[in-house]
Subunit: 287 residues, 2 copies
């Protein structure tokens, strides 16, 4: 309940800010802007920007300084989904209950809209004047982070992997962006080193939790609730937490990650309560 | 001759700097790094980084402060070629005399290597601490710049366009990145507003010159010298300078752009001589 309210409120904040980002683009080609907006404003949980805003607010009782970073995170996340869905990658037809971008606008427009969103993320973030924030985001989303994780994930398809390689892949593919969301929120909120480090550890556990539950939903979730196809990990012979250890043990491991995450918040007062219950919420999510 | 020496010297400088950028990536997936390097170290004129370094040196008699921006420009240029060559875009098999990246490493790796190079460009640039430089590069390479130009170019295929729409497309697609190369070199060299504006105007003329000669080479050039296929503009019914005004008038227009570019350098002393002869060199290029 408290998490639902938090996510809804932060989602509204970031959607307004994202809309404002486009208001200056009067000279941009309409078709390309439409493609970018189609994916960016297609709903979704907005978890990453909510983490930025929540972390920023936790530091300085105001989420406004975190808005540019929240927008940047959502743009990077959206571009990664667009490119991931392409025929040469996961070849997905549906995303968030609608046709994927390349299905709706064509493949070339999807490649370019992804490129444009990634570039726009750095534009918005750099306009804050914080080059250190740009360094953080680029590191988390590049070859040692998210893109590297996607490459390893793709290479691993059809190969039976172990838990260690699975965790390596997901720490990059999902974990890096979730962790950097918390770090950027903390940075823009003026965190101390101790606070920054605690939120970084919280982010790592949360990222792992998120990926385990994602794998579980692909096995045990409902396609209509999820708004995307299920069972595709199994069809593409992907190594997942359930495939490595079985569904029940994967659920138990997610429970441990959720508890570990909550434990990292001892430093903070009751303002951190929403972050304390968020792991349980992710653990129980059905979409 | 003086331009050849200049380009060779600056090319060596930027290749060494690019290699150094990869030295920290011990935890990156080898296959993805190999794909990025395949395209990044496949030769090419290295015109954009040479413009960064030349502009920087013109300002402060040292090109070293411009090296991170030079690397960033070459990474953005390379990523744009990789994505442009994809089957869903220009579907090119050859680039710089070798198979294109997706031909050599597969389509998925080509999409991801492009994404990783774009991200790495912002990483390297942001590490200078200059967020304003990141803003400039993102603006020039995003939806109002290069990516927007590529989208319009693609949309215009098979549609008979006029000179005005052609110039709009190329100002974004090629011009923006060439202009920002000069601007970033000037910024890192400590240019005055007057110097920055002169180099910006020089860059706009140079960008147009470069595109006109590119179109001419596709009609009148030699595939072996160029290292890529020719005649493809005509096959894809693309509007080009020669198709709009004929080959001879296109050559004359390129000559005017070259003269206009050189005229913008009145502010500078003989240290700018290589920039004075560069337009003529581009005018006469055969690759």
């Amino acid at each position: 309940m408290v998490v639902d309210t938090f996510l809804q409120e932060k989602s509204q904040r970031v959607v307004s800010a994202l809309e404002a980002c486009f208001s200056g683009y009067t000279h941009a080609p309409d078709g390309l802007v439409d493609a970018m907006k189609y994916s960016l404003f297609s709903g979704g949980k907005r978890l990453r920007p909510a983490l930025v805003l929540g972390a920023c607010e936790l530091m300085c009782a105001d989420d406004a300084p975190g808005l540019p970073a929240a927008c940047a995170l959502e743009m990077v996340h959206t571009y990664s989904l667009i490119h991931d869905d392409l025929p040469c990658m996961d070849n997905d037809d549906m995303r968030r209950g609608r046709p994927t971008l390349h299905r709706q606008f064509g493949e070339a427009a999807a490649v370019l809209a992804g490129d444009a969103l990634l570039t726009m993320a750095f534009y918005e973030l750099a306009r804050t004047g914080r080059a250190d924030a740009v360094v953080e985001l680029a590191e988390a989303s590049g070859v040692v982070g998210m893109v590297g994780g996607q490459y390893c994930d793709m290479q691993a398809e059809g190969v039976v992997g172990d838990l260690d390689s699975l965790q390596q892949i997901h720490a990059r593919k999902t974990g890096a962006l979730i962790t950097v969301a918390l770090r950027l929120g903390a940075l823009f909120g003026g965190a101390s080193t101790e606070q920054l480090e605690a939120l970084t550890r919280y982010g790592r556990h949360l990222g792992m939790l998120f990926q385990i539950t994602d794998d579980i939903l692909d096995v045990a979730g409902d396609a209509r609730t999820l708004g995307k196809s299920v069972g595709k990990d199994q069809r593409s012979a992907k190594t997942t937490y359930p495939s490595v250890m079985g569904l029940e043990r994967a659920r138990a491991m997610a429970g441990v990650a959720a508890a570990d995450a909550a434990d990292e918040l001892a430093l903070f007062g009751e303002e951190a309560n929403v972050f304390r219950v968020l792991p349980q919420y992710i653990l129980e999510r059905d979409r």
